[in-house]
């Protein structure tokens, strides 16, 4: 099982500028957490403080009982071997090809034979879809490939804690989905604690067990995903919906004048491109069929059910909703009779499920063979 990371009262400033203060959170062992935050709120600084690359001004960051803020340099290097870190640009060694990059931690820290190293490296490169590119230099490949190679390198030592700094930036949505799936699969296989720093809403909604958000120099919230996904907190809901209306402005915080002007525009009918509410609890990613079950899911369920009475009502409903009847019985909770507060209609429905009540055909695209005939055949043709 992955290591637990306990952070207490962590504060960091550069000169007179405070980046964030009094960040307190616990990354539960083996669970996947996502840290959200607008650009420039010190998410990367937070990651770097967690691995001791930057020294926080105050606070503790304990990993396996060792406080990395105050421990000796030698101990720090020992602790770091538990980490696999994916940097924003991959941070590959420019003078080595991909194979040597991925083999680097193995050659430095293990006494494995070259044949064994080769096996592990090729396996990880294959896992990240880079098979065949091992002779390329980092300068010769695209940003997305560099990122995946960085991930492969982070994984070779079978880390207990994986930190990902914006795994999605510079990747297309499809590759981001693959990467998300890869992280979940990894979690199922090695049960590592994973922290992903991102501002990708999709990743935040579907990947993590726990969500947190940094804004305005502090941790706004950190907790089980259901809490943030159903949160009424203006910052969180604005961010999750990707809207302009709300407290987050172009440059960090919005002033009142801008907020008023935007509200007036909105009232006059000028809106963001869409005003769909993306909040609500969506199903979490599952490991690829055939892989072991994620141990973290059960542990988390136990943990969350223990604190469920302290959670906001909507989150509580959402969690109970997601349990199976047997689990509800086991934990001794009941579903509220009223339907959940938000229409849960943002998943993808197979066509026949819709065909029952919706008009059989909403639009017909010329020469489109995407849509098969409606199941009842006789339905409304044009």
């Amino acid at each position: 099982m992955g290591a637990e990371v306990v952070i207490e009262g962590l504060t960091k400033s550069f000169g007179r500028q405070t980046i964030w203060r009094d960040v307190t959170l616990t990354l539960p062992p083996g669970e996947v957490s996502v840290m959200l935050g607008p650009s420039g709120t010190g998410k990367s600084v937070f990651l770097k403080s967690m691995i001791g690359l930057l020294k926080p001004d105050r606070g503790r960051c304990e990993i396996n009982g060792v406080d990395i803020v105050t421990c000796s340099e030698r101990k720090l290097y020992e602790i770091r071997k538990l980490f696999g870190v994916l940097f924003q640009d991959g941070a590959l060694f420019g003078s080595m090809n991909l194979y040597d990059n991925v083999a680097f931690p193995l050659r430095e820290h293990t006494k494995k034979s070259e044949a064994e190293i080769r096996r592990i490296v090729l396996e990880k490169l294959d896992m990240t879809g880079l098979a065949g590119a091992e002779r390329k230099l980092p300068g010769e490949i695209s940003g997305g490939m560099r990122k995946r190679a960085g991930l492969a390198r982070a994984l070779v030592l079978d880390p207990e804690i994986i930190l990902c700094d914006e795994p999605d930036s510079g990747l297309d949505p499809v590759r981001t989905a693959y990467l998300s799936q890869l992280l979940i699969d990894l979690n199922a296989q090695i049960d590592a604690t994973i922290l992903i720093v991102t501002h990708n809403i999709n990743v935040a909604r579907t990947v993590p067990d726990n969500l947190g958000m940094l804004f305005r120099r502090e941790l706004v919230m950190f907790g089980p995903r259901e809490v943030l996904l159903t949160s009424e907190e203006p910052v969180v809901s604005q961010f999750l919906n990707g809207r302009r209306i709300g407290p987050i402005g172009m440059s960090e915080e919005k002033d009142q004048a801008t907020a008023d002007a935007e509200a007036a525009h909105a009232a006059a009918g000028h809106a963001d491109g869409f005003d769909e509410d993306l909040r609500g609890i969506v199903p979490q990613l599952e490991p690829t069929p055939g892989l072991p079950e994620r141990q973290a899911v059960r542990r988390r369920k136990d943990r969350v059910m223990r604190i469920i009475h302290a959670l906001p009502q909507q989150a509580r409903d959402g969690i109970i909703e997601s349990l199976t009847p047997e689990e509800r019985e086991r934990y001794g909770v009941a579903r509220r009779p009223s339907p959940s507060p938000r229409p849960r209609d943002n998943g993808w429905h197979p066509p026949e499920a819709v065909a029952g009540e919706a008009p059989a055909e909403i639009a017909r695209l010329p020469k489109s063979n995407w849509r098969t005939d409606p199941p009842d055949g006789s339905g409304g043709g044009a």
Partner: protein, 264 residues
Amino acid sequence: MTARTAQASFPGAGALRETGRLFALALDVVVNTFRRPFQVREFIQQCWFIASVTILPTALVAIPFGAVVALQLGNLIVQLGAQSFTGAAAVLAIIQQAAPLVTALMVAGAGGSAICADLGARTIREEIDAMQVLGVNPIQRLVVPRVLATMVVAVLLNGLVSVVGVLGSYFFNVVLQGGTPGAYLASFSALAQLPDLWISEIKALIFGFIAGVVAAYRGLNPKGGPKGVGDAVNQSVVITFLLLFFVNFVLTAVYLSVVPQKGS
């Protein structure tokens, strides 16, 4: 490394802080030199690299240097009527002073700037961070081999410069100024002595260390982006030159008062 809660701010505090960090790095380098595993491969590669960028320019600079000494002394000594001592003076000047300085300037200018640029580029690409995160100490892995390489190459180059400089001086004195080869060679050991060669090599060793450490320090702490790397390279060369001349002055003063000179 302890968490600093407040930083002193008085005029010159910044300079003191930088100096302190430079010395801290130098100390780290010394300590990590003795920590296993030693990076043999990196060390040899760096030696080869630094030697390959410095040998030719150093040799080319050494020839005119010897020549200048010969020409200057030649005129002066003729007036004093001590022509037979040209060789002695040239050897003394070249071995004791010129060779280590020329070597150090070349190692700092060609080798040090390359080291600084290389480490600077790695720093801003987060490679150094990545290395630390992978549990590898970049000082042991990257800086120590480079500093040792500059030291070794400086010592070896110092020998080369001494030979080439003396040959250049001989050529100018004998061929162009009409000095006598016999007198030139015979007076070799009139003023110079073996400790002069030792101090020369010791100087080269220390200068190589300074050049390597300063280059590594500036390379590991560039200020903001690619432009910062350029500035860092520039500064590393300037700082090294200033330090070299100062340290040379101190070493010479100490040497002259500790080792008795011939004829005195």
